[in-house]
Symmetry: C2
Subunit: 471 residues, 2 copies
């Protein structure tokens, strides 16, 4: 939103001159360096409403050592470095606010080692999640984290992504075993070993998960894998009202039922999904479920959830067992953002992202729905409600200042409400520069510790400057 002005109090001073470009071409090869306006423009923006801030140059790396050499070249000149995966972030994470060199990691797409016995895999940062799961299929294993977009695993790590499966499998925080990282001085480190647990010093792995390129460039990731469940069952169920749907979620979680997915779409969002995906779901607040387990285990989960939903007046479950039916159902859910935007051709989507303790979820969603209704905005709600996380997508005309202002007001109210309810301004999208001002409201004095860590690991402020924290 416009609350966040792109700014870094101490912008890095170096500039990308001919000598640096020559050096970069030597490192990556002239074919893997671009200064064309189109390439720079594309690398300066993500999928959000934030405008493009193009870098001065884009380099495509294929190996960690190349990344290290690029970082050393930039560090020697005080030139900013912005890592780029697939550009699917939502808070301006890739914007080159102070210019500099964008390191495109998409060609680091090698799967380096599958350790099926240990249920882990090591990949280069540019491998995308769908490609990984395609590759794994024959092993009987899968990687569950699914943020919707077919993002790179390095990018998902850098933004601490989660998505629909997190309620059961956790987020990137819980599923990264170790990382290879190029530090701000070009040093290559590995943050941990491949053991499942360790008490050997500071948790550098978790420090880099969610650091958004501001502490170093993640080049390799070792991830936990899971056995593909014996049985998978998906379902859609409409509810009489938003409150009944939310309360069904709360009781399901509190009952300890290990649902794999439990997603809420409100009436406005279901209307959008029907239109966009040519479906005919009831236009009511609706929950999308997925159950994983043994045949008997899934049956038990389903019976328990059906009983809870029935208590809240919902019994019209539509089931999907075949993979193609499940894929169709979840594709409709994943297209929710595009479906929302399609409601008003020519408009843009502004995705918001608060997360609260689940006991406060009904209050937070219902109060927010009231604000939206009062604002007159088009703003469907979707959410990973099993985690207490939900999104409003404001579908707005960016040229309509009044509309933008109203969206900003509703968002700010919602964020401050979430924080007051002991929640967070971002459950999974990250900070980028779009949420940078809310961090103060959320963390207070803890920002001092974050800033100290940033300055210790990146004393020149060249690693994705202006994101997460101002120094």
């Amino acid at each position: 939103m416009t609350t966040a002005q792109p700014m870094a109090s101490t912008p890095p001073s170096g500039s990308v001159d001919a000598a640096l470009l020559d050096l970069l071409a030597q490192i990556v090869g002239a074919d893997n360096l671009s200064t064309s306006a189109a390439v720079r423009e594309q690398h300066g923006r993500d999928e959000s409403y934030h405008p493009s801030s193009p870098p001065d140059a884009v380099v495509y790396c294929t190996e960690t050592e190349q990344v290290a050499d690029v970082v050393k070249a930039c560090a020697a000149r005080g030139v900013p470095i912005i890592p780029f995966g697939t550009g699917t972030s939502l808070e301006g994470h890739v914007a080159a606010l102070n210019g500099g060199v964008c390191i495109d990691l998409s060609r680091m797409d090698k799967i380096l080692a599958v350790n099926a016995e240990d249920m882990d895999v090591t990949v280069q940062a540019g491998v995308r999640r769908k490609a990984l799961n395609d590759y794994l299929r024959d092993t009987g294993l899968f990687f569950p984290i699914d943020p919707g977009a077919d993002a790179s695993l390095g990018g998902m790590t850098a933004t601490r992504a989660s998505g629909t499966n997190a309620v059961r499998y956790g987020t990137m925080r819980e599923n990264v075993l170790n990382l290879t990282v190029v530090m701000a001085d070009g040093r290559i480190i590995r943050t941990a070993r491949r053991a499942r647990k360790s008490s050997a010093g500071y948790d550098l792995t978790r420090l880099f998960v969610g650091s958004e390129g501001t502490l170093g460039v993640i080049t390799e990731v070792t991830l936990r894998l899971y056995g593909i469940p014996e049985a998978v069952l998906a379902a859609v169920c409409p509810f009489p009202d938003l409150e009944s749907a939310v309360n069904t979620v709360i009781l399901t979680i509190q009952s300890g039922i290990p649902v794999a997915r439990i997603e809420l779409l409100d009436e406005a969002q279901m209307d959008a999904v029907n239109k966009y995906s040519k479906l005919d779901y009831a236009v009511k607040p609706t929950l999308f479920f997925e159950f994983h387990g043994s045949d008997a285990g899934v049956r038990e989960q389903v019976e328990n959830v059906k009983a809870i939903a029935a208590d809240f007046g919902a019994d019209d479950f539509q089931w999907a067992t075949k993979p193609e039916d499940r894929n169709k159902l979840w594709q409709a859910r994943h297209d929710a953002y595009y479906a929302a935007i399609a409601l008003r051709p020519g408009c843009r989507g502004i995705a918001t992202d608060v997360c609260v303790p689940i006991s406060r979820l009904a209050e937070c969603i219902l109060e927010t729905r009231k604000d939206i209704d009062a604002s007159g905005l088009c703003a469907p709600i979707v959410g990973h409600v099993g985690d207490g996380n939900f999104h409003i997508v404001f579908v707005v005309d960016p040229d309509n200042a009044d509309e933008m202002k109203r969206a900003e007001d509703v968002n700010e109210h919602m964020v401050m409400r979430a924080i007051a309810l002991d929640g967070t301004c971002t459950g999974e999208h990250g900070v980028g520069y779009g949420k940078i001002d809310f961090l103060t409201a959320e963390h207070g004095e803890a920002l001092v510790a974050m800033r100290a860590v940033k300055q210790a690991l990146d004393p020149q402020n060249i690693m994705n400057p202006g994101k997460i924290i101002r120094v």
Copy 2:
């Protein structure tokens, strides 16, 4: 082991003089300050073989603000601060290597808030895990992490403890939602909110989990809770040899069976347990199991595990369903350390703690068993083998230099073997000063990043100096 010499390259320079003692007495009250030799001696050592390094004074705090005032007073004079919980650590974590003030947190024993609907609880750092679970009993919730000792939750957080339940519920890393921490300058911060997930900046929570008091003093902890399972079943089963037992564990984990506990005791350890706890288990490599779930779910897990064990020649399961029988069984397991030491009256135990990827577990344990046999030492093996984590307890005469040297050699071999197998020198005990030299072998260049973080957050090196990392 003697590989680690207590040392800090830049020891803090301040000393505890009369003026500081006066000030501390004003902050905590004269009754809550002690300089008696007995109290200092007791606070300078943990349960390990490491000798006591007494602090100059011990203060007992009851509130975060008191801790902050004590830290400010010490920081102004460059005096070291060592937090103390229950003194059950195993690598000299509480040794006052450079003197200073020990902050005893055991009187910070208030349970501050149980949020049953959100399945979380906030406690002061001195609350012990058994007291917490007693308090929670009526809520139907429990906190699963169980390192054996009745440790304080602040201490468990600071050492990233885990133990027998970690294979299912994770370690302290996965189960802390947020912390209140007093930083090295006396500033009080809260590391996160109470939402289940967040992408709002650097993961300070995980940075402090496992930081062993070297970055700040943890004064309050918010923890995840779990529903007490509908059904709990425990079992003990002997195996024909160590390899069969380890392979049963490996296949159980790889099959995705959600066992709550799966613990290995070798022949020597079973003999010790029988003698110490007056039991008559078969003196064979033995697995201790616990299953949590619904009635049907537990039955399914049991059938699957029995089938795997049978394939490895084991079918003599002894079951325990009643809480008192289960408690007896797990008490025997928890007493393993004391049982081992009792094998040689007058001797001390040196507990080791490596953790490897599970595919390398059989190799690591069997090779280590060979080394032990060749060394002629008394050294039973126990392990949280579901995580790839195991311990040797060397039962040695500390006055016998030759015996100490042999134990040191076997340990060093084992640690270097674990690291070569992509494992860690400490799965759950932490570094303290006992493992400080192994960290270089394990982390290499990553130590530079750890050191930078330490220096950023504790520029005077007053927070538990000489532990984890030398600065």
